[in-house]
Amino acid sequence: MSQSDTPNAKQQFTYIGKHRRAVEHRRFVVGAGNFAGDIQLPGMCHVAIVASPYPSAQIIKIDAQAALALPGVVTVLTGEELCQQIEPILPGVDAPSVQRFPLAYPTIRYSGEWVVAVVAQSRAIAEDAAELIQVQYAELPFVIDPEQALQPGTHLVHQIAKTNLIFDRQFVWGPVDQDLANCAHTINYRVRWARSSTVPIETFAVVCDWQDATQILDVWASIQMPKFPDQLAKALRLPNNSVRVHFDIDVGGSYGVKRGLKHTILVAYLAKKLHRPIRFIEDRLENMRGGDMQGPDRIFEVTMGFENDGEIRSMKMHAIDDIGAYAGRTPLQLGKPVGAICGPYRIQSVAYHAQAVLTNKTPQEAVRGFGQAPTNYAIETGIDLVARFLKMSRIDLRKRNLIANNEFPYLIPSGTHYDSGDYAAVLDKALKSASIEDLHQQRDDLRKSGELAGIGISTCLEPSGGNSAFEPLFNPKNETTTWMESCLVRIDLGGTITAIMGTSSSGQAHETLVSTVIAEILLQDPETIRVIHSDSLNALPSNSPVGSRMAIMLGGAAAGAAKKLKQQLLAIAAYQLQKNPNDLVYSANRIYDHTNQNNQISWSTLVEIAHRKFHLLPANMEPGLQEKFVWEVPTGGQLPSTDGKVQMYPCHSFESHVVLLSIDPKTGKVKIHRYVCGHDCGVMISPDVVHGMTYGGIAHGLGAALMEKFAFSPEGQFLSGTFMDYLLPSATEVPGITIVDHCTPSPLTEFGQKGSGEAGYLGSPAAIASAINDALATIQASINYLPMTPNAIWNAIQDKNSTKISN
């Protein structure tokens, strides 16, 4: 449940901020969603994969004879053929030699890497045939541990790169060494964020169909990715306008990971080669091991320098990310946190050393928050340690350091301005909602009854808006500064409104967002406004729903287009009524003279004039009512400076979590008694949607904190292939959650909205770790790695003598 409160909202809204049933729900609750796996085309064939059992090997020989002889098998594709026919997938950092192909050839680099694709009339027959394929491998050395991978003389995952350190950069913003030397105390600590991911319930699914006659490749895919059609065209050596990605496919959850480039290139190639539609739905085994959708896997070594009164002056952070066997976009996941590197705190100088390391493991993919959640976990751990060192309350220490509400826009050392916020107010709201005094009492009672019990606090930023300036920051050869979104809005001859968005949705209720925004501007009932998804041939530029950007960017684009239409309607009315447009009032379904209400013109008349009565249009006006708006991200458009400073995301949402939990000291099992999240994302266009994201994000974070990990054996074998190994929290693990809303509008957006797609996830692992360590501190124990499973907590209890703070 949630308690909404908008004391700082700029204005009263008609539709924005109200409870409204999401448009998308109508089809989902009756089972009429349109997911990629639902697509059936005549003559369609199916793909199954043969994957490598070894983490590192050379392919010696592939014998597909028995497979090809099986009735119903259409073809068998090896990497040897595929690699010659397509362009490699390249990393987002400057390392063009680190190439990736959908099928490995000749070198295997992780256990589960795809080796052979079998095409058959059914998926079942394709799997039968896959079992008959014999692959001869010569095993090679391998490296699994990222710190080991950095050592000289270790096996190189890509020989040609001459190093496993595919990205290495040190940023120094301000006089860090000096500040650390001058302050009263320093602490050093280490935390380990385990490799986890968002693991949507729908695996990646793709259907491709190529037509010789039109030279068009149709793609229906469970996709959430910027520049997907472009990368696809490039890899397949097709002109961009030969690729038609259908963005009206419903995506069954993504939260970052559904990039599926290798899946789609593979299937597209097969569709083109065989001239028949091909469908590939990853099964769960293929997805977990070789779907390349695992997440950040980080070691943080942090130093914080602080004064006796709690002021944290300076921070040094070293982050090593084990990105697996190929790079893709993921090293950039170390870069996005640069835009909020000091969190919500007034830390004056920061040094950040980011390293991305290759190992013989499944590659990572972008995960919700793009690296911010692990970074927040690292920062918040330090805040708690400083408080404990000074014997200060963790709440007071935070308040000592939180940026105050009169300091915005606030410039952080790495070059980003935080737009607005009132962090202390959100923290206070969360504490009040949780009844912090009651929580203290409850904690004490639990402790008296023999449990370990702790309260956790986190105060974290959610950067939003998707100015992906980390791209040129981490790869100066990539001078991209355009991060845009578009919307086209039409009012048709019948007076009904249709809006077109140019990307896919995976549960964010964009159709609801866009129709609400347009309704607000044009004062039409949002239920009558239809929102459709284009395909990539008729789409306006989009950078897809990443970086919590769509409320800001798609909302802004929809508003921009609607405003242009509103201006056009006013101009038509002014011409008809022979008034100055400034003397007219735009109202629901009519425009009238503000001095005489009876001097008016109705919506339907205006629409008729626009579409049918050219003789009544003002001069130089286009017929019809259709406007597009293509919008660059606010505060975007600059390249980084040479000292690595850049404005990253424009808008900064904020969350504060308060958690009470207990631990059975004999079993290490955790029980959460109370969970409160204070949340400020400016004006909420759709409060139900925002709350839903936040609950879901908290559940994601709880999983990462307590139970989720992609594990590998020391021999490089992947151990977390099924849902019995990789544990997703169910309704019995996720507690009841209370959300308390606050609103500091953004000065940069149409309605004051900020993004919220990553809400909850960015702050909950930190809060849960904070609570567990508060509990363990009573017996001088602590835990500095995730996931904090019962076994891990029990180990920490046994290992009471280890200290994580050093001066």
């Binding site: 799997e127 039968d128 004999k666 079993t667 099924t722 544990l727 693990e733 029990w794």
Partner: protein, 292 residues
């Protein structure tokens, strides 16, 4: 994850099923609820050439509750053990069944299926072991009774021969007077296989001494384990709380748990010791509190 091809045979009565088992060779598996078998076939860890479906055989679905015994046919659904009159007779069912997967699992999964699958962490095999239930097993030309403590041989391995079918299970019912039982398990998520589990059941004499005692642990080795060598000598004796802790300690020392992704062997030992201790204490307390 599509199963490998197989042929399917629906048995309408037990003799038919046993004949099929006899004729179809060694690469045949029985299927009832399929909650363990079908996922294994989907992952191609099991690839039988033939499935014999026994889920429609009426004679295997019977439940017969008597004063001292509960007889369940092997294809009785797990959810049916949650009914009130059965769980009054054997409260361990009521305590354990909420941990058996989720409602979907128990709506299809069968009692015999769980026992024949013999996962060392599963709840029903542990209860069967602690109660030393008697399993009735038949083939085309033979039948025999096997005690639960002899039935489980290893992980996913029982003393069932390839042509044999588990047909019914006889669960002993203890005295209602001075009775206590406790089933505890710890898993990371509700419904997962236990990292370790413990079950204890006790009858006391009116003077507070032990009339009957049985306890065991699951997830602590190749099979569920009961400890008759430890419980038998206690008959007629009093048992203090400290002695119960010590008993749990001794029992765990007899186990050899393995490490896996979710739990190390040493954590398991500690966990099982804690759960067994608590199960014994809980059962004992209940027995003392509820004379009838």
């Amino acid at each position: 994850m599509k199963a490998a091809p197989f042929d399917y045979h629906l048995a309408d009565h037990l003799d038919h099923a046993l004949e099929l088992l006899d004729h179809l060779g060694n690469d045949v598996k029985l299927i009832a609820g399929g909650q363990s078998l079908v996922p294994m076939m989907a992952m191609r860890l099991a690839k039988p050439s033939h499935l014999v479906d026994i889920n429609r055989i009426q004679s295997l679905q019977q439940i017969n509750l008597q004063e001292k015994s509960l007889y369940t046919g092997s294809t009785v659904k797990q959810k049916d053990l949650e009914s009130s009159h059965i769980s009054q007779a054997i409260p361990l069912f009521k305590q354990a069944l909420p941990w058996v997967g989720h409602q979907q699992t128990r709506n299809r999964g069968t009692v015999g299926g769980s026992l024949a699958h013999a996962d060392p962490s599963a709840e029903l095999p542990l209860i069967a072991t602690v109660l030393n239930a008697s399993l009735h097993v038949q083939s085309h030309n033979s039948q025999r009774e096997i005690r639960a403590q002899d039935f489980f041989l290893g992980p996913m391995w029982t003393s069932l021969a390839p042509q044999e079918c588990l047909t019914d299970i006889h669960w002993p019912i203890w005295n209602k007077q001075f009775f206590g039982s406790r089933f505890l398990e710890t898993s990371i998520r509700h419904g997962d296989f236990a990292m370790a589990s413990a079950a204890a059941q006790i009858n006391l004499n009116p003077d507070g001494t032990i009339q009957q005692l049985s306890f065991g642990v699951g997830g602590m080795g190749a099979t569920p384990i009961a400890f008759p060598s430890l419980s038998q000598p206690l008959i007629g004796k009093h048992l203090s709380s400290e002695a119960m802790h010590e008993l749990a300690n001794q029992a765990i020392l007899l186990t050899e748990p393995t490490s896996d992704l979710h739990a190390s062997a040493s954590y398991r030992m500690n966990l099982a010791r804690t759960l067994l201790s608590r199960a014994l204490l809980g059962a004992f307390e209940q027995a003392q509190q509820h004379p009838q």
